[in-house]
């Protein structure tokens, strides 16, 4: 069958960066093409060219062919009218409108009087959601839905534009395990309906599960396309990184008891974060020791991030937090930082980075005091420090003076980590540190965390990825509905036990608290 979409020899240059060089790919209807590559390989850029966000470099060889016609894509609206839609990782729904209103946003059918025809909107939306087997209430505000459900709404919206090709850029990065399963089923449904899908992910397991073919990018160049049936993890990794990689990191030296650094006693938030979401924490108590990596597991919405926010002084709290036996009175993150606590947040765009500032300015922000002489910032020292982090974390950027908004998602994540590494805190909280990071960098982050721990830093690791929690943690605390549901040592912990504990189904095995 002639492929529905063909991109031939696409190149894209940014000032100082050659993001894509003569990349070609093809997608047929009813096929899932996976697009993989390291952070900064050019995956998102290629998709932005396809959906009209960027224009490709001018070249006579460059062609984009859709359904047999060569076209040049002018804008996202134009792309959509040609049947090409994209779901970005940062969702583009409007949170104070209902599901149905979101689906018909900006093309609402009108009644004879020129008012919005809610009846038709609701009927069409219902039919649409039913045809996709989505169990979502049409009338709920999108802001009240979970991230996974919001993504379903976006997909429904894309389909309603009669999409023939649907691009998904790291869709599962912030989905829970259950939501990921739902998404996989949905993709199979869409495939059966003849929709072609371009699927970007750093999780190779998903690719083996869902994709038909896989195209690999390395440094802006396509290094091959092969049927998934012929691929193995080793082959894909070698093509992506061009070197052999250690497999997922396992912390081998086991932790020896040491003194308690951080102690939380019956902490809970005074207010929920907002009326819609947010969890009420219930008297959380635990201890964290020097050199220990303490994993926090639990479902999305179990209160992991909320707990960390209290430990970092972001909200008023009840209960006591002690650092090295001294009670802390934290009113702001500054107090937490001064006490020696660092917090690499999960949401890099809103909480992690000042996007318009450079890599250098972002990395130095929390530790600017130590890089300054009184008020004067020592820029030479600042540059040196940032270069070092850029090298050790292999952050892909033309220079430390690049604005972070121009970095690829994974590299932004690394900048967030770098700024907390530079602060060298006694307690480091990392919330989803490897989300959106490629496998090579992931192994690097894991070994970095282990190294920090062996130097005596106490680490709290929050992650939705069970394999990561299991491999990295000396001890694991599982939260459920704002309370501690169980605690496991590294020896006791297994995937099944943690899942059971997190869901609260079945008996809780291990040392229940």
């Amino acid at each position: 069958m002639e492929p529905y979409l063909k991109m031939v020899n696409v190149s894209k240059t940014f000032p100082g960066v050659r993001a894509l060089r003569d990349v070609s790919l093809e997608v047929a209807r009813g096929e899932v093409l996976a697009l993989i590559g390291e952070n900064g390989a050019g995956k998102s850029t290629l998709m932005k060219v396809l959906t009209g966000v960027y224009r490709p470099d001018n070249s006579p060889d460059t062609k984009i062919i859709i359904d047999g016609f060569e076209i040049s894509i002018e804008s996202p609206t134009h792309a959509r009218s040609r049947g090409i839609s994209i779901i970005y990782q940062e969702l583009a729904t409007v949170s104070n409108l209902t599901v149905a209103e979101n689906i018909f946003l900006a093309r609402e059918p009108l009644t004879k009087l020129g008012l919005i025809d809610h009846k038709t909107i609701n009927r069409c939306s219902r039919e649409l959601l039913d045809s996709l087997n989505m169990d979502i209430n049409l009338k709920s505000l999108v802001g009240e839905l979970s991230l996974g459900q919001q993504m379903m709404v976006e997909i429904a919206k894309a389909i309603s534009y009669d999409a023939k090709i649907l691009v998904m850029d790291e869709p599962t990065a912030s989905l829970s395990y259950k939501e990921t399963v739902t998404l996989m089923n949905l993709i199979r449904d869409m495939k059966a309906k003849g929709i072609g899908i371009i699927y970007i992910s750093h999780r190779l397991e998903e690719i083996f599960e869902i994709a038909d073919r896989v195209t690999i990018l390395r440094d802006g160049v396509s290094v091959g396309t092969l049927p998934v049936a012929e691929a193995t993890k080793e082959i894909l990794v070698r093509k992506m990184v061009d070197r052999d990689l250690l497999d997922i990191f396992v912390k081998n030296e086991s932790f020896t008891q040491s003194e308690v650094i951080l102690k939380a006693e019956n902490i809970r938030n005074i207010k929920r974060k907002n009326e819609l979401g947010g969890v009420q924490l219930q008297n959380i108590s635990f201890e964290l020791r020097r050199g220990e990596i303490l994993g926090f597991s639990g479902l999305v919405g179990s209160g992991r991030t909320e707990t960390m926010e209290l430990l970092f002084g972001m909200h008023p709290y009840k209960g006591d937090i002690y650092l090295s036996g001294k009670k802390l009175h934290m009113k702001s993150p500054r107090d937490a930082i001064d006490a020696g606590i660092g917090f690499a947040t999960e949401d890099r765009k809103q909480l992690g980075l000042v996007l318009d500032m450079t890599v250098r300015e972002n990395i130095s922000l929390p530790s600017l005091e130590s890089i300054s002489n009184m008020q004067l910032v020592n820029k030479t020292k600042e540059r040196e420090i940032c270069k070092r982090h850029v090298d050790t974390l292999s952050i892909k950027t033309p220079s430390t003076e690049q604005a972070t908004i121009n970095l690829s998602g994974g590299n932004q994540q690394k900048v967030v980590l770098a700024k907390w590494l530079q602060l060298a805190p006694r307690v480091l909280i990392v919330d989803e540190p490897t989300r959106g990071i490629d496998i090579g960098a992931k192994a690097e982050v894991h070994s970095l965390l282990t190294e920090l721990a062996s130097k005596g830093v106490a680490i709290i690791l929050v992650s939705s990825e069970l394999s990561e929690i299991l491999a990295m943690s000396d001890r694991i605390i599982v939260l459920r509905e704002g309370a501690i549901a169980g605690e496991f040592t590294q020896q006791e912990a297994t995937q099944d036990k943690i899942i059971a504990c997190a869901f609260g189904s079945g008996e809780i095995i291990g040392k229940a608290v």
Partner: protein, 331 residues
């Protein structure tokens, strides 16, 4: 991306000549400066008087108070806020100075009292915004009216004209060489605050706060304190402008600085500050003020209806900011 002159000139020394010029063109301040030069050249063609030293000095003396206030406004706008009270604070500071002189206080004390009036107003603005959580627009709209009202209540609308010490008049009327004293003060302040914004921790925090307040707070920036400081500085700088203006005019008018906030905001945004926060520079504000000053002077020299001047200034703002938006969108 917008960059600032100081950092870019330093870095691009070794680069190829061409990329050097491309880079220069991408610096907002220099573009506006080029427009100023072109405009000046054009005006000079029709009116040779434009280039006379005393005309130029009179232009810069007139714009010096605007620029001093624009320094503070730039900082405020970089944090993502706005300060509408600058014109009223200028008037109030002049009024306080004049009242002190009419009580025969020593000149130093008079100046200090005038300056503290501005400092207090700025601090109150800061408190309203950080402690009461009012939006900057509303908070400073309120203080703008309060300060102006206060002036009218105190003076019943009559100008104050007490006898002034010569030393004090020198601030507004004196010269150092050929350069008027207000311009000297302005230049010192511009250099000092440009340095402060680009080289100090405080300056970095101001930019970070405007770029992403949440992320800055989580990085340990005391966002409320920095904002409070910024509004206080803005009030203080307006007071300096008020003290200078009064020394020049020797009469504290109730309407002094009325509507001046619009010129100040205009200079700031023409100079590259973005109303959404995070970008802008002190040098830019100076160049913006120069552009406005040159246009006003040119229109007088070319005998353009004085009522039309306001409209022309408006058009320049729209052009300057519009062109910049367009260029940013293109790359």
């Amino acid at each position: 991306m917008k960059k600032d002159i100081s950092e870019d000139l330093g870095k691009s020394g070794r680069g190829a000549l061409k990329s050097f010029f491309v880079k220069l063109a991408s610096i907002r301040e220099l573009t506006v400066f080029a427009v100023v030069l072109a405009l000046g050249f054009g005006i000079a063609l029709f009116s040779p008087y434009f280039l006379r030293l005393n005309n130029i000095m009179s232009i810069v003396r007139t714009l010096s108070t605007t620029t001093i206030m624009a320094i503070g406004m730039t900082m405020v706008i970089i944090t993502g806020g706005i300060d509408l009270s600058v014109g009223s604070v200028l008037g109030l500071a002049g009024m306080f100075t004049a009242m002190s002189f009419s009580h025969n206080y020593p000149p130093i004390l008079c100046v200090m009292l005038g300056l503290s009036a501005g400092l207090v107003c700025g601090f109150i603005n800061g408190l309203l915004i950080t402690a009461v959580n009012l939006p900057p627009f509303i908070a400073t709209l309120g203080t703008m009216s309060i300060c102006r009202g206060l002036i009218y209540v105190i003076t019943r609308g009559n100008p104050l004209t007490p006898a002034l010490a010569d030393g004090y008049k020198f601030i507004g009327q004196g010269y150092i060489g050929v350069v008027p004293m207000p311009v000297v003060i302005m230049l010192i302040l511009v250099v000092a605050f440009q340095f402060c914004m680009k080289q100090t921790r405080f300056g970095r925090y101001v930019y970070a706060l405007g770029g992403n307040e949440q992320a800055s707070r989580l990085s340990g920036v005391k966002t409320k304190r920095v904002k409070l400081q910024v509004y206080t500085i803005a009030g203080f700088l307006s007071a300096i402008a008020g003290v200078i203006l009064y020394a020049r005019m020797t009469s504290a008018e109730a309407a002094a600085g009325l509507g001046e906030e619009m010129n100040v905001i205009a200079a700031t945004v023409i100079g590259g500050a973005s109303m959404s926060g995070g970008s802008g520079s002190v040098i830019g504000a100076l160049i913006g003020a120069v552009l406005i000053g040159v246009i006003k002077n040119g229109m007088v020299l070319l005998n353009i209806n004085s009522y039309a001047q306001q409209a022309v200034t408006g058009i320049v703002i729209l052009l300057a900011v519009g062109i910049d938006m367009f260029r940013q969108k293109k790359d």
